[in-house]
Symmetry: C2
Subunit: 424 residues, 2 copies
């Protein structure tokens, strides 16, 4: 199969989708919400089949939890759609208007990116969220979900597609890829696909970067660090560290490394060891092992995203050492300082080169919903375009519109005309 022709047709439709007014896109979102509720039994049935197969194949419990699509998940996605309907149109917004010279007016106007490929994991609710974000922002979506959720994804896709088409969206507004080979076909479509958002393992993201010219937005590792400064409040710190590590270990914003200032170690580490007992395996360097009993850490552990109940623990001599460690070993995702000092917090938040720099709260807050974006298409640790949790705003770009009445550059080059630059 050559996907390139299909992708070109989607590209042509993306221009039509981007030209539609907000009322049409919002109307489609409303129709999709309604259709999901009306067709919920068929969707739940498809999900039951996926769940049964997953159980037969003995997939681990956390995956089963993510795979499940029930009344509760349906509520979540429909209220997500509602909140997207209520937000301001992200496209067709004039960012600035500038008169370059009399009768020569430059405008910068937001517009969709075009065609976006999203490869996501086992959660079928992600399919609904991503589709809704793309519709709101006027982008055509090409979706590839986890194979465990194939039946649920197909059921959701069919409902969204029918409702969207009936509401006036162009044919290519949503597309699905259902096999692994399809991903390789997609990667060749650099003349039609504008962006790929891979949500998956580090190795998978690197594979995509190495095998396509299409720009990639997303994150590879999620090595989030917490640094406890010398004045860190012990009780508050232990609570935050335990939440950041254990509230959901498989998440990219879970903490993987704890750095403790030497002056705080004697108080903090025993309290942490107590809280972690039977829950989290602490893996410490030699200085740490002098204070508490724990596993032995190696340098490799500082670069490891465990996604498990394990935490690397290291003692540092200064905030500068902590910052250097984080900028070197962290993944520029989300890092937190525990301190009561404004000065230390300011230093940490300025010098740590990450998408999220936190003070006295759990790294698990790094999420589009928790940031108030309504939904997220993923989290970016890249620095271009969108950084951190990516909502609808990360799916738009802009174009420059210049309107004149015969102006030519030669007149300006030869001094016959001069630019005036007046903001309108």
């Amino acid at each position: 199969m050559d996907y390139r022709e299909t992708a070109r047709a989607i590209k042509q439709d993306s221009v039509k989708l981007g030209a539609l007014g907000c009322e049409v896109r919002n109307g489609a979102l409303y129709a999709i919400k309604k259709a999901l509720i009306e067709n919920k039994e068929a969707i739940f049935e498809a999900n039951r089949e996926d769940m049964e197969q997953a159980k037969r194949e003995s997939l681990p419990a956390p995956i089963l939890g993510r795979l499940k699509f029930d009344e509760h998940k349906l509520d979540d996605v429909t209220s997500g759609i509602e909140s997207l309907i209520s937000i301001k149109d992200p496209i067709k917004q004039t960012v600035f208007r500038r008169e370059l010279d009399e009768g020569l007016v430059l405008e910068r106007v937001t517009c969709p990116i075009g065609v976006i490929g999203v490869i996501f994991e086992s959660r079928p609710d992600a399919l609904v969220q991503i589709s809704a974000l793309c519709i709101k922002s006027g982008n055509c979506a090409i979706l590839k979900g986890g194979s465990e959720a194939a039946r649920t994804n197909r059921a959701l896709f069919d409902v969204i597609r029918s409702a969207g088409l009936a509401a006036g969206l162009p044919d290519g507004f949503i597309n699905i890829i259902e096999d692994r080979e399809g991903i390789d076909e997609l990667l060749k479509c650099d003349d039609s696909v504008d962006l790929i958002i891979p949500r998956g393992s580090n190795a998978f993201v690197k594979y995509i970067m190495d095998n396509s010219r299409i720009p990639v937005m997303g994150h590879a590792d999620g090595i989030c660090c917490i640094y406890a400064h010398e004045d860190a409040d012990v009780e508050k710190s232990v609570r935050i560290i335990m939440d950041a590590k254990t509230q959901y270990v498989a998440a990219c914003n879970a903490a993987e490394t704890l750095l403790v200032h030497r002056n705080a170690a004697n108080k903090l580490l025993p309290a942490l060891a107590k809280a972690a007992e039977g829950k989290v395996a602490l893996r410490g360097f030699s200085d740490v092992k002098k204070i508490i009993e724990c596993e032995t850490a190696k340098e490799e552990d500082c670069k490891t995203e465990y996604l498990d109940y394990i935490l690397t623990v290291k003692i540092v001599d200064s905030i500068e050492e902590a910052i250097e460690h984080i900028n070197r070993y962290g993944s520029h995702h989300t890092d937190c300082i525990l301190t009561e000092s404004d000065e230390a917090a300011e230093k940490f938040m300025t010098y740590v080169d990450s998408a999220g720099v936190y003070r006295n709260c759990s790294t698990r807050f790094a999420d589009g919903f928790r940031y108030g974006f309504g939904a997220e298409v993923g989290i970016s640790t890249g620095k271009l375009h969108a950084r951190g949790p990516v909502g609808v705003e990360g799916l738009v770009t802009y174009k420059y519109r210049l309107t004149g009445n015969g102006q030519i550059v030669a007149d300006y080059a030869e001094g016959i005309s001069t630019f005036k630059f007046r903001e309108l």
Copy 2:
């Protein structure tokens, strides 16, 4: 030579540069401006040597013109630096502040991208502009200029580096690569270099994309199209077409293709042929050749960036055909409609998927100076991050700062706390 260790040191310095206040960065720009003027004789002397060698090697006149760095070019770059000093700090700006819950405050703050590699052509004034843009935006720059300008670039670099260091910028704020092999070394530094901006041929940009994981911002082809609608004013149109084609043929924003509505062809084409005589070779499809005498165009010509006094000419039956042609064969750089109809202009500017969509003016206006940005680091035809001419604003990203007093995610997951989302 392994450049990776050097790049890592630059990366560490980039955090220091980004933390400096605007007054330090502006002070450095002022000192650099002063030093360039004080050391102009040494710079001019280096440039004379480059020019002599270029003449001995019989480089073409346009390259000699770009290579020249004289009193006039010095005036240009120093006034460019002045205008950069006067603009608002692009970093450390709080884009929004939102209270997620009582005492849990999210801020989005602009910050530098980090380390930016720029590979540019023979113009030595580009070295000064790019350095100044990077200093203003708090980014460390790694520069590789054209080999014809090696002596001038080295002289400019030495002056900028000394003045910047004396003004308090960190050691790695500016760096130079002086051989082709250095580029390949640079491409391996994906753990330290955040962005590469290649200004060069299509083949060169593709080479970089294929040989590095570092994100690339720039443009490959510059195939700009002009479409003359059925009601186009003949005199105005011919003037704009001739300017867009001939004012500077080697520029990426020069027009390469003219599309003419069938109903306008009988009037417009003879007038254009007359104006083009002896200046521009028109290359027309068969319909065009029925109206005027000209060379014969093939499909390949629609995809060709001539960078020469040649223009592809094609007759189309509708504005829709023109839009489809441009979205298919153009390079999404800058395209123009010639029309007196607001409706046609709106349609064209909405459906043409390019960084610049123009009405009744020359495509040659697509330039950071002419847009009022003060300077540009390049023009982007990509859709991510920055699009069109890229000024200082295209060199910044942002980070999220979240400040709490012990908040954990478990409390929100379990319904003990709920998000309030209040804009501050």
